[in-house]
């Protein structure tokens, strides 16, 4: 699938602010809000935190994929943030998370929502790709690593 339909340079950052799970999620929401992708921050945060409460989206190898469903969006929105120093995101392997991919999908619309998350996760299978993302010097660099 074409990741560029969802990911643009203004929803990517290589310098995510925050030292806790909640602060990281707030920063990712800020990123989407400043790009004009969302307006109702509170309901977006609510759906993301509810999903985290069920099961942490901190995966393995420093990757976390916070996501949720909300009526506050009309179509899938997503962003990518890198926290070079890592944050405890309650990952399965207990390691700090460094690469964050967040998506919010509409509740009542069909579309390749999980497929989008899966596509990026698949790109990050290779340790090399993960390392490149973490050490990327600019947002443009991250964009070209993910979107090719």
């Amino acid at each position: 699938m074409n990741l560029r339909k969802i990911l643009t340079k203004d929803v990517i950052t290589n310098d995510l602010k925050g030292d806790t799970k909640e602060e990281i999620i707030d920063s990712l929401i800020d990123l989407l809000a400043s790009a004009g992708k969302i307006s109702d921050r509170e309901s977006i945060k609510k759906c993301i935190m509810e999903r985290e409460a069920k099961m942490s989206t901190g995966m393995e190898a420093g990757i976390a994929i916070p996501h949720g469903k909300s009526d506050a969006v009309d179509e899938l929105v997503g962003c990518v943030g890198i926290k070079k120093g890592g944050v405890d995101f309650k990952a399965f392997d207990g390691q700090p998370s460094r690469i964050f991919i967040m998506t919010i999908s509409p509740v009542h619309r069909t579309g390749p929502h999980v497929q989008f998350l899966a596509e990026i996760s698949r790109l990050l299978r290779e340790p090399d790709a993960r390392q490149k993302l973490i050490s990327a010097g600019s947002d443009e660099e991250i964009f070209s690593i993910i979107c090719g």
Partner: protein
Amino acid sequence: MTHLMTILVLQLAMIVFFAKILGWFFPRYLKLPKVLGELTAGMAIGPYALGSIYLDILHGPLFEIPAGGELAISPELYGFAVVASIVLLFVSGLETDLPTFLKFSAKGSIVGLGGVIVSFVFGDLATVLLLPSVHSFMDPAALFLGTLCTATSVGITARILSEKRKMSSPEGVTILAAAVLDDVLGIVLLAVIVGISKVASTHGHIPWAHIGWIALKAFGFWIASTVIGILIAPKLTRGLKRFKSMDMIASISLGIALFLSGLAELAGLAMIIGAYVIGLALSQTDISHEIMKKMHGIYDFFVPIFFAVMGMMVNFEAMSSVWVFGLIFSVVAIAGKMIGCGLPAFLAGFNFRGALRIGCGMLPRGEVTLIVAGIGLSSGAIGHDLFGVSIVTLLVASVIAPPLLIKSFDGGSGYRKKFGGDEAAHNVQSIELSFPTPRMSKFILELVLDSFRTEEFFVQQMDFGRDIYHVRKDTITITVTLRDNELTINTQPENEHFVRLLMVEEILVLNDFLGGLEGMKSPDMMGAEIMRGLFSSPSAKSDSDASGDKPVTS
């Protein structure tokens, strides 16, 4: 009139009883397809067997062959079979994955196309060479027998592939993709053949220029009505949605299918083309799944009637003269599919073993074969003898195919070494989950299938009544199987992330559901409250009610 209707309802009653019982018995105890059970039921109780026995109460047999009619059953009963065939093809159209058909793998296309062309030519030529009464390749009888060799009933294959866990193997994916093309081509071919045979029966011989025109007209009608259908389907569904009732929407859709079937017949094509086209058009809308669900009841009632009625038309006496031809024809039909599908598969990179598997997978025949034979018989293009040959072909292929297919999957890879890279991409990843009870596993299955649909995947149940599903979108193919308490999802490694992420979300939904249950009152207490007072005397009960001690069932 009353007597006529009495006979009709009694006939229908017998057909429903026997078709349903044998349709249940065959797969359960003989490991044979349900359709064979229903067909056998028709043969056994039909006018050429038990149905011919004189019954005092009716002053005649239950199934009396109408005098002077072309068919062995009454026109009223045949009417039910016609409606059943429309329901059958409407559902087939609804189940068709058109995007896959339009752009699916090259392998599937050439295998499907090869199978249709070679088996048609083999069937047609065998009829011309072996039957002294047939002189030309364009003789309606030869054309009909050729056409009925082309159809594939992929339900049986899908079940075996699922049992052998090979549905997402390169062979499995190729067979399932080829079968889509096979269905569509078979129906188009039928449209053309019906047109040609009508000309033949009018003029006695076939003028070649006219054939070209008829073929073009049939193909043109099919393409035009399909394109128009697909274009207006979104508007049509928007209009239908105003009724805000799926029952209404499904019934009106079936009404449109019946209407278009009539129009197709008026245009000189087979009725079922109209039903198939409207099903195909609606398959691309967001209500196709809901319509299909609503059609289950009608399908389950009507379709066994169709198969049983087809069985009733088997005239054992007329067949006795063409037994040998029937058996040879069956072998030719099998060879046509094996070569027609196997050879292109071999050329596309499969080894001999893989090509054999694909050939075997395309062997089973069912619904479409019977429809072609039925139309041939009712239009007079084939007689009772050749109708019998069609049934023998269907029986032989359907009985031989399952063991052959199972055996063919023994051994290693079906790919040639030089295509090894491709094979690596086709290694199947299996995700298995067990649940404590069948109900819970069914619940999670529905959740998973719904979330595939939400991701805009096309979900197709491969075998009515069994939980084997083929899930497709673009080049992604996933199979979902539920057996007892075990849910298995097979897919290529590149889709594993997607499937796992999707599964996790659904497990969390299940978890929410279970959490919600814990929040309820204890089931024991709820049960006790429902039952309280059930065995008290009325006076004691009214006292208890007056005291405000009423059952609470929230």
